[in-house]
């Protein structure tokens, strides 16, 4: 199994605070990894470094064997690397006034010639690809509607379709289900798992809710105040462990655990309560 992502001693300080504190990790191709932590723990910052949206203060990020950034400098061929990485955002980040179809076709921009992409001309073959991707996420009927007319869950599925046409080998999802209702959230997580299983995508998904990490991702990396505090099998994530990792901050994660239908373990919930209080 090849290595998909290697992060080596990554540091990032924002004016307010230290966002990433000596983060090192390695993710193999084909893995599905959850990134958990309370808000402000550095999940988004880490993902945004992985796709080269921000440059770190120090440390390196290597993606698919190619250097993405090194000591605060983004690689000159960053666009080529981004093309291999699908990014899914909490707020979907579709262009509202463009059709769903065009939003998905954007995933092909890197491969189309500049002239054709500036004329906004896509071939029948390309449109077919986009339509197939939309069918794969189950929203092909909305292809020619404006993205703004779709519900949140549908918009997020369109964003996944964009990753599919992009033929992304890595999918980074930054809180993809945080703005969705429970039903759509499950749906989007299923699709991510499906992309991982059937298309062999390496998926890194940051989550607010531990129960989704346990249910969908074999491996979890937990961040706390910019540091990796846990990196191991999701099955080992007991409420006690979380309590140890997060101390009083566990409440944010713990509320979700209590309400979680995925974790029907009343005894565990009780023990967690003790840790949290």
């Amino acid at each position: 199994m090849t290595t998909a992502i290697v992060v080596d001693h990554l540091n990032k300080t924002f004016p307010c605070c230290k966002a990433l504190d000596d983060v090192s990790l390695s993710i193999d191709g084909g893995e599905m990894v959850a990134l958990i932590g309370a808000s402000g723990s550095g999940k988004s910052t880490l993902l945004r470094h992985l796709s080269g949206f921000i440059a770190a203060d120090s440390g390196t990020v290597t993606v698919l064997g190619r250097q993405m950034q090194d000591k605060g400098r983004l690689a000159p061929n960053i666009r080529r690397l981004r093309a291999e990485i699908g990014f899914v955002f909490q707020q979907f980040n579709l262009v509202n006034r463009l059709s769903v179809m065009t939003n998905v076709l954007v995933g092909l921009l890197y491969r189309t010639s500049l002239v054709r992409s500036l004329l906004m001309r896509f071939s029948i073959h390309e449109k077919q690809q986009a339509l197939e991707a939309l069918a794969a996420v189950g929203i092909q009927q909305f292809a020619w509607q404006r993205a703004a007319t779709l519900s949140g869950g549908q918009q997020q599925r369109a964003a996944l379709a964009r990753c599919i046409v992009q033929q992304a080998r890595i999918v980074l999802a930054d809180e993809p289900i945080a703005s969705l209702d429970p039903e759509s959230a499950r749906n989007v997580m299923e699709l991510l798992a499906q992309m991982n299983r059937e298309r062999g995508c390496t998926v890194v998904v940051s989550l607010h809710q531990v129960e989704f990490a346990i249910k969908y991702c074999p491996r979890t990396i937990a961040l706390h105040r910019g540091q990796v505090v846990y990196d191991g099998p999701s099955s080992a994530l007991t409420p006690q462990l979380l309590g140890e990792l997060y101390g009083s901050d566990v409440e944010e994660l713990f509320d979700m655990l209590l309400d979680s239908p995925a974790l029907k373990m009343p005894a565990t919930a009780h023990s967690l309560q003790r840790v949290a209080v």
Binding site: S51, F53, R79, R80, L81, R82, A83, E84, I85, G86, F87, F89, Q91, F92, N93, L94, V95, N96, R97, L98, T102, V106, G107, L109, Y110, L114, S117, L118, M120, A159, R162, Q166
Partner: protein
């Protein structure tokens, strides 16, 4: 700290602070300061009202005998506005994008903005007088004058629309490996297009108004006739020309308002 009960919250908002009072004070001082310079003589309006009544009577009934010429020149005026606006859109798009601070670094947008300021600072009439020297009397000088001035105006409005966009969709485009031009075309333009169209239509309306006076300095259109009839004390004909301008401008305003409603 306890939360105040509903009784503790006053029903009137907190009293206005000092800065509001100060702002009003400054406003009145500015008005008073400008009184003398502007030669304000409101009483003269009453004193000379008789003269004005006589003067106004000369306008009626309007003299429409030459209406064909007036209409022809009015259409030429619209033609000037069409081309002046069209050329300025072509220039305002790149210049507008280049003066948006969320798209380009400051060493690009600062000089471009200053250049656009200069285009905007000088009135169309002044540009028209200059272009008449360069390209001779006639509508073309008017087109060029509108072009320069409107480019300055539209570039600023376009840039402001771009600066107000939601950056997240643009980031979505960037995430796919798209280059800067593609980011603008797929992420920025779709967001600002309705506003851009609205601004452009509005400028077209005001360009028709501007073009109707450009003729006064010799840049073609209905203004030439307006100038002639006023200078010749032909007030009945002046009234006819003014009516034609009013009707045309109103028509264009109505139509473009309808189009604006459709795009937004």
């Amino acid at each position: 700290m306890t939360k105040p009960t509903i009784r503790d919250v006053p029903l009137a908002p907190p009293p206005g602070n000092l800065s509001t009072t100060l702002a009003w004070g400054v406003l009145f001082i500015v008005l008073a300061w400008s009184w003398k310079g502007a030669d304000m003589r409101p009483l003269d309006l009453l004193k000379d009202s008789g003269n004005m009544g006589t003067f106004a009577r000369d306008f009626f009934p309007p003299d429409f005998r030459e209406w064909r010429i007036y209409l022809e020149e009015m259409i030429i005026t619209v033609h000037i506005a069409v081309w002046g606006t069209a050329l300025s859109i072509i220039c305002a798009v790149p210049f507008g994008l280049m003066s948006a601070e969320n798209l380009v670094p400051s060493w690009v947008y600062q000089p471009v903005r200053r250049m656009m300021d200069a285009c905007r600072a000088i009135n169309e009439m002044v540009f028209a007088m200059l272009f008449i020297v360069a390209v001779g009397l006639g509508p073309f000088a008017g087109v060029l004058a509108l072009w320069i001035h409107t480019t300055g105006v539209l570039a600023k409005l376009f840039a402001e629309a771009v600066e107000a966009i939601d950056p997240r969709p643009v980031e979505g485009i960037r995430a796919t490996g798209a280059n800067a031009l593609e980011e603008i075309l797929y992420g920025v333009i779709p967001q600002v297009l309705p506003l851009w169209i609205s601004y452009t239509l509005y400028r077209f309306e005001s360009n028709v108004r501007s073009a109707s006076v450009l003729g006064i300095v010799g840049a073609g259109g209905i203004g030439v006739i307006l100038h002639e009839v006023i200078r010749g004390f032909e007030y009945a004909q002046t009234a006819a020309v003014l009516l034609i301008i009013i009707v045309s401008v109103t028509l264009i305003d109505l139509v473009s308002a309808r189009i604006r409603q459709l795009v937004i």
